[in-house]
């Protein structure tokens, strides 16, 4: 005997097919949880996950767990982060950031004048993440 018949009506008559399938499956699950020795006057304790209060509690616990996990994640990453810059990427970004506070962004290569070199050698004094203008 199908669960739809146990419900006393055909859910597909009044609901879209997808929703009707969900209702049917949920009804089947609920029926499976009914004890076989259930007598008139007996009550079933709402302890299953299908109980709305239980679902809300579990959902809140999941949200709280995720927030706690992400806070811990931030603390661990912050504790073990690299508090220095190196290579081309992080030093290039840091140099550009420093240029915002100490303009201009477009900078003269000082070594050319300091050592009296020809401008064609300027490439040797350009740091990573910079290029000749």
């Amino acid at each position: 005997v199908g669960c739809g018949r146990l419900l006393g009506l055909s859910s597909t008559d009044i609901l879209p097919a997808e929703i009707a399938t969900r209702v049917r499956k949920r009804s089947c699950r609920q029926l499976e949880r009914v004890p076989a020795n259930l007598q008139p006057g007996m009550r079933i304790a709402p302890t299953s996950a299908s109980d709305p209060q239980s679902r809300i509690t579990r959902s809140s616990a999941l949200f709280a767990g995720l927030i706690l996990f992400l806070l811990a994640y931030f603390v661990v990453l912050g504790k073990h982060a690299s508090y220095s810059v190196s290579g081309s990427d992080s030093s290039g970004y840091a140099n550009l950031t420093r240029s915002f506070f100490n303009p201009p962004v477009r900078q003269v290569i000082p070594e050319i004048d300091t050592f009296g070199l020809h401008e064609s050698t300027s490439w040797a004094f350009i740091p990573l993440a910079y290029t000749r203008s």
Binding site: A81, D89, V108, Y130
Partner: protein, 101 residues
């Protein structure tokens, strides 16, 4: 490089997006720690955004939670989140854009 004067000048070749984040962090927290806390913060927020996007896509809360955890423990994510580079920041803004679509 058309004339002699221009070769005496250098320009940064990196985009300014991440340096703007760093500048904001410097204003808030100073040079010592500010720029280095951007990526840990945005990595955490990216995981939260992924959780929200997974819910928007119809996943259950448990699967969305699992997606966020998988992203958080991804070795590449952890590695990039500990460096002052733009990858995690780009991930954060991409996820935010997807979430707002």
């Amino acid at each position: 490089m058309k004339d002699g004067n221009t070769t005496r000048v250098m320009l940064p070749i990196y985009p300014i997006g991440f340096p703007l984040h760093e500048a904001l962090a410097v204003i808030v927290a100073g040079w010592q720690i500010g720029p280095f806390l951007i990526n840990p913060l945005l990595a955490s927020l990216s995981c939260w955004l992924l959780f929200r996007i997974a819910l928007l896509l119809g996943l259950s809360r448990l699967l969305a939670f699992a997606a966020a955890v998988v992203m958080a423990v991804n070795p590449t994510m952890i590695y990039m989140a500990m460096q002052a580079v733009s990858d995690v920041t780009a991930t954060f803004w991409a996820l935010l854009l997807i979430g707002l679509l």
